[in-house]
Symmetry: D2
Subunit: 392 residues, 4 copies
C-alpha cells in the first residue's frame, strides 16, 4: 500500500474550476430559495469564488456563463479576478433561455434561429479572446418532448453543420467542448444524449473539439468510469462537470451521493493519463470543473466541501498500489485485486491532507476556517438591496 | 372479441378532472416559456377548462390549487364555474413554495412550521366546504438532499401526527388523499416516496384517507398496474394523477410516452372495480385527474388530447374479452392470453368514438373542432396585459 | 393519412432472421423448463424455423450459433435448410461457455486465451464460407464483476487488437457485426457496454465492420430509436437483435413489452434508409433478426408471433404520412406532429395484413393456422428420446 | 466524533447468517463455472460455513435451502453443525425449480399445485422443528412474463390464502418471513414485487409474519435505508438478505458495489433499534443474512470478505456522533449534518477491528489467515469425485 508521503507531491497543482453560477440562487422547477448574502453582480460571484480558493488552494479559476455573466469590459473583469487571486476560465454558452430556442438552437429547423445561436457562440469566442479562456463549453438543451415532434436525423445533421461553423472560429489555443446529457429539459429525445453522440460530433470537427463529461448526465446504472477510460483512450476527454446524484441530474455536491463512484472515476482519470501531475509532460488536457446546484445548502461552504471532496478522493485514488493491482489482475485473483482498490478507498487521508494544507499556508480545516472567518456575516450584511442573481 | 356497441354504454359518464394549473405557464428549472392567451386569473383558467369540457364532454370538474387559486369569494367562483358548465373539484394544498418549508412542512422539526402547514390544510378544508369539493389532495415536497441532513424516522412519525391533525377535520363526505412521489424536488430522500408509505400512513388514519397514484411518480421499470391492482384490493386507491413520462416526472400528456402502459393501467382499474360504470352501485370512488405540465405544447389542445387519450384507452380496455382472457389464463396458454389483451389494444376505436360523440351532440373530432372554433384567437386577442399565471 | 394499399408493396420481401437457439430450451439462472417437442439436433431446429417461414413468409433465413450448431458437414446442412425452404444466415460466435473464458475472451490478459478466442472466430469465418453466410456476429460476455478486478483500459486495447485479427480474415462480401450490451453476465463492467464503444471499435476496423443493436441491451430509459438514427447516419448500423423487455435483458417477444417503442424504432429505420424496399438500390444493409428467450411460452408460436409483430409494426411505420409530419414539424406544431405519428400507430392493420398474406398464398392468421396444422402434435410425438437442446 | 473504544462493546455478538448455497457453484443463465473444492454434500457446505465462522467469529449460523439441503436425519445434521461450531438457521423454501411451478406456486390457478406448494412449506416447518430454526423464509419466483398472461388480482388473493395456510402452522417461537423482489425470474409482473406488497400480506397474517429485505431486490435508485426505517417503524422488518449490485439482482459481495449505501442502511438499522446490542432488551429481532452468488470469485474467501464488510460498516455506523447529528439536523445545518455522517463513514476502522479480533483470539486479518491456513488446498485435494453442488 502506497503511503501519503509518496503521493503528496502529485496533489500539487490540482485545480478545480468553479462555476460562477454556483454562487447565485438555484433550485428546482418547484421553488428557488433565496439566501442572504447572495451575489448581485458578476464581481460578487467572482469574489465568492476567490474566497473558496483562498481557503482551499484548489480553485484558481472561475467559469463564466454567457449571458448571465455578460459585462461591458472583460479586460476589467479579468483584472478584477486576478486582483482577487483567481483567473477567468471556461466560457459556457447559453441557448436555453431565449424564447426563440423553444424548439432548439443549433439544431432548429429555422436557419435564422440557428444563425442566432451560432452567432451567440461566436460572441462567446470573442469573450474568450478577451478573458484569455481556453475552453468554450457547449451544453445544449435541444431536444423534443413528444415522439414525432421533431425529425431526429435532420436535427443531428444540422447540429453537425452548426458546430462546424463555430469550430472554424476557435483559435489554435482554444477548444470546443461538447457536453452530453441523458435528458432534461427535453423529455423525449435530447440531441446530444450520450457520450457516443458527443464523440461522433466532435471527432468530425477536429483535434481541438472534445467531449465534456458531466457526472450527473447518464442513464441509471451507467458505468461512468468506463466512459472516462474510453474517452481518454480515444483522446477526446476534454473536461468534467463534477456533481453527484441519486436519481436524475440532481446536481448535488460531488462525492455526496456515491463516494466510491467518484473514487473509481478519479482512478480511471489517473490510470488513463488524464490527471495533471501524473502526465509525462507535466500537465493534463482534462479540465476539472464543478457544476452543481445548491438548492438547500449554503453556497460557499458547499463549494469548499466540493473541492475538498475531489481532492480527498484524488488522494485516495493516487494511493492505489498499481503494481499490486496489476499483479492480482493478471493472476485472476478477483478478491485480491478488488481488495487493493478498497484498501486505498478506505484509507483515511483527512489528517494527512490537513497537514499538507497547513504546510502550504492553508487552513487545515477549510470548512471550519471559513465558518470562523466572518466572510459569510460580512456578505450578508453588505449585500443588501439589488437583485440576487439566479439561473433564470 | 367484444365490439364497440357492447361497451358504448360504459363510456357514459366518464369524468376526468382537469387541474386549473394546466392552463397557466409551466416549464422546467431551466425555462418557463410564455404563450399568448395564457390566463391571468382563476376565472380565465376555469373558462379554459370549461372549454375542454365543451368540446369533449369528458371533463366536468376543475381541481384548484391553494394558494394559486385563492379567491375572496368561493361561492362566487363556484357559481362562475357552474355557469360555464363545470364544477369545482379536488382541492390541492401547496407546501412547497414558502421559504418556511425549505426543510419540510408536515414533517418539519419545528412545531411552529408544522402547525403552519397543518393550518394551511385546515384552510383548504374550509375552502372545500365552500366549493363543495370532496377531496383534499396532499402532495408533499418534504424530503432531504443529503444523507444525514434529516432524521428519516422522526420525520415519518411527525408526518403521521400532522396527517392525523388534518384528518380529524375532514367531514364524513370528504376524503384526504395522500400522493407519493419517487423523487423531486428532494434528491436524497422523500418522505412519501412510494405507495407502501402512503398506504401505511393513510391506513393509520381511517376509511376516508386514501392513496393518490400519479403515473409519473415511480422508479424506472415499476409495474404501475400492479400497484393499481393492489391498492384497489386493499380498498385504498383514492385517485389518479394522469400524465406520462420517458424518464422521471416528465409530466407529459397521458398516453403519449407509453400508450400500452396506460391501457394496462385502465384494464386493472376496470378489473378491480375502480371504473365507475362498471361498479355495482353505479359509481366509483376512484377519481381520475390529469396532472401534466405543458412546457412546449399548446395548453388547451394539450388537455383535450389528454382526456381523449384516456377515453380512447378506456374504450380499448373495456373491449378486452374477459371470458376469453380468463379461459386462456386458466389453461396456461401464455400466448393466447397475451393475444386477447393485444387484440383489444390494437383495435382502432377512433371512428367509433367519433360517432359516439356525435350522437351526444359533441364534435366528432374535438381537436379539429377546437382549432376551428376561434377560441384560441379570441383569448390571444383579449388576454393582453396583466400577469400570465404560472406555477411559481 | 397514407392507406394500406399505398404501402403494401413495401412489405414485399421483408425478411426477419430466426435464431436456431430460439427453438431449444432456454430460461433463467433459476430454472430452464423443458417442453415436449423440443429439437434434439440442428436439423430439427432448422425444421422448426422453416415451419415459421412456411406459415408467415417472413423468415427465410436461420442464424447459427457455434459451437451449439456445429456439424461435420456444412454443405449438407445448407442443402437441408434449402430443401426446407430456408437459408443459413448469420453465424454467431460463442465465447462465454468455456471455462477458459471465465475472465474474458478477446480481452483476456493471457495471450493464449485471446488466441483461442480469435481462432474460434476464424473457425466461424470458415463456417461462413461453407454456409454462404454474410455476417459474423460477435457478442462478448467479457467484463468483470468487481471494481479493481480488471484493467478496463488494457482490456479495451486488447479487444481492438483481437478484433483486428478477426477482421482481416473477413472476405469482401462478409461483415463483422459487433453487439453491445449494458450488463449481464458481467455485473460491474462490460467491455462493449454501449453503442459508442461498439462504434469506436468497428470504426477503427473498416467498412465491413458494423454495430449490432439488440433492443434489450440498454440502460433503463434509453431512447433506442435515437441510436438507430445515429448509427444509420454514421453508416454503421449492421443489424438488429429484436426482442423486448420491461427490466433488463428480459428477452421477451419483440413488441410485447412496449409496442410503441418498436413502432418508433421501425419508423427511424425507414426514415434513415435502413429498411430494404425503401432503399434506392432496392436492398438494405441492415439485417433484422430475432434474439429472444422463450422461457414460459411455446417456442414455434412464439417465433411466429414475433415476426408478425415486426411485420405489423413495419406496416404501421410505413403508414406515417411523412409529408404531413414534416410540415407539422417545420411549423413547430408539437401536438399536430405527434398526432401524425399516433394516427399511423393506432391504425389497425391486422385485417389488411391478413388479406395481404392470403393474396400471397399464406394463411391469413398464421397463429391459428399453425395451431390447427398438427405440426406441434407431430413433433411432440416424434421427438422422444435423445437430449433436448438448450443454451447450456 | 465517537471513537472506536466507545463502540467496541456493541460489536460483541454480531451475527451474520451464511447461506449454505453460497458454497456451491452458482452463476448466470449463460454459464456456471465449476471450481475445485466445491462441496458435494450438505455436510461439506456446513464445514465450509463453519470455516468462515472460525476465521471471523461473525457467522455462527447456516441457513438451509429445501430441497437443496434435504437430508434424512436432521438431528444428525444439527449435531454435525454444532460439532463444527455453528448452528442451523433459517429454512428457505424453494418453489421455483419444479416443472409444476412454471406458472406459479402459492399463487397458481390450480388448487392442486397450490396445495403442493403449501405442503412443501409445511414440510419446511417440520424441518425447522427438527433443526431448531426460528425463521421460515419464503421467496417466491411467482409472476408472469407477458401482460395478460395472468390475473394479477386473483393471484394476490390466492397468495393471501396460501400464506394463511402456512402461517397457521408456524409455532409461537417461529416466524414466517416474506421476501419481495422487483423482478426476475418473472419479467412482466412479480407477485411480491415490493416492500408494500410484502408488508400488506404479512400484516394480514399476524405478529409472527415479517418482511425480508434483500438489498438487491429494488428498482434502480430506490432509497433502501428509507424502507429499512419504515419497516422498523411498522415493526415488520424480519430479516436482511445482504448482497450488492450495480444493475439488477447481481448478487455481488455485500458492500462491494456501493459501500456508502451499506453504511446508510446499517445506520438506519441502528437508529431504528434493529441492531442487537443497541436494543433495550439486549437482542434484535432482525436477522442478518448473506444471499450472494459467487460467480467468478472464490467462495469461502468471498463469504469471509462479506461478513467482514458488514462488520466494518457496522462499526462505522456505530461511530456516528448521533448527538451532534441531531443538533445539526435540528439547526437546519445541511452541510454540518451531512458532515457528521461522512466523518464516521470515512473513519478507517480496519486497524481497530484487527486489534479487536486479536483480543478475542481471532486472526487480525481473516482473509490472509484463511489464505495461509491450507484449508483451500485441503478441500481441493480431498473433494475429488462426486457431484459438485450447485443451485440447479
Amino acid at each position: 500500500m502506497t503511503d501519503f508521503a509518496a503521493i503528496a507531491a502529485q496533489l500539487e497543482g490540482q485545480a478545480i474550476e468553479l462555476p460562477s453560477w454556483a454562487f447565485g440562487n438555484s433550485g428546482t422547477r418547484f421553488k428557488v430559495f433565496a439566501t442572504p448574502g447572495t451575489p448581485r453582480s458578476v464581481e460578487e460571484k467572482i469574489a465568492d469564488a476567490a474566497t473558496v480558493h483562498r481557503f482551499t488552494g484548489l480553485a484558481p479559476t472561475v467559469a463564466l456563463h454567457i449571458p448571465w455573466d455578460k459585462v461591458d469590459d472583460y479586460p476589467a473583469l479579468r483584472r478584477f479576478a486576478e486582483e482577487h487571486g483567481v483567473r477567468l476560465g471556461t466560457i459556457n454558452s447559453n441557448t436555453f433561455q431565449d424564447d426563440d430556442y423553444k424548439f432548439g438552437a443549433l439544431t432548429h429547423v429555422d436557419p435564422t434561429i440557428r444563425r442566432k445561436a451560432i452567432d451567440h457562440h461566436l460572441e462567446c469566442i470573442e469573450i474568450m479572446d478577451a478573458t484569455g479562456s481556453r475552453d468554450l463549453k457547449i451544453w445544449l438543451a435541444d431536444g423534443s418532448n413528444y415522439p414525432g415532434q421533431a425529425d431526429l436525423r435532420g436535427r443531428q445533421d444540422r447540429l453537425a453543420e452548426s458546430l462546424a461553423a463555430i469550430y472554424e472560429r476557435i483559435s489554435d489555443d482554444q477548444r470546443l467542448v461538447l457536453e452530453y446529457k441523458f435528458f432534461e429539459p427535453a423529455f423525449y429525445h435530447t440531441d446530444v444524449p450520450d457520450w457516443g453522440t458527443s464523440y461522433a460530433q466532435v471527432a468530425a470537427l477536429g483535434d481541438r473539439a472534445m467531449v465534456c463529461l458531466d457526472t450527473g448526465h447518464h442513464a441509471p446504472g451507467t458505468n461512468i468510469e468506463f466512459i472516462v477510460m474510453q474517452l481518454l483512450r480515444l483522446g477526446k476527454l476534454g473536461s468534467f462537470d463534477f456533481n453527484s446524484r441519486f436519481y436524475a441530474d440532481d446536481d448535488l455536491i460531488v462525492g455526496a451521493a456515491d463516494p466510491f463512484q467518484l473514487f473509481r472515476i478519479l482512478f480511471e482519470v489517473i490510470r488513463g493519463g488524464g490527471y495533471g501531475p501524473a502526465n509525462p509532460d507535466g500537465h493534463s488536457e482534462v479540465a476539472f470543473m464543478l457544476d452543481q446546484c445548491h438548492n438547500v445548502e449554503d453556497k460557499i461552504p458547499g463549494q469548499i466541501r466540493s473541492v475538498l471532496n475531489v481532492q480527498e478522493m484524488t488522494a485516495r485514488a493516487l494511493l492505489v498500489d498499481r503494481a499490486a493491482l496489476a499483479a492480482a489482475q493478471d493472476a485472476g485473483d478477483v478478491l485480491g485485486a478488488h481488495q487493493v482498490l478498497m484498501d486505498a478507498f478506505y484509507t483515511d487521508v483527512r489528517a494527512d491532507l490537513a497537514g499538507w494544507r497547513e504546510e502550504r499556508g492553508l487552513p487545515g480545516d477549510p470548512m471550519r476556517a471559513y465558518a470562523e472567518s466572518g466572510y459569510q456575516a460580512e456578505i450578508e450584511a453588505s449585500r443588501v438591496g439589488g437583485n440576487q442573481l439566479s439561473w433564470t
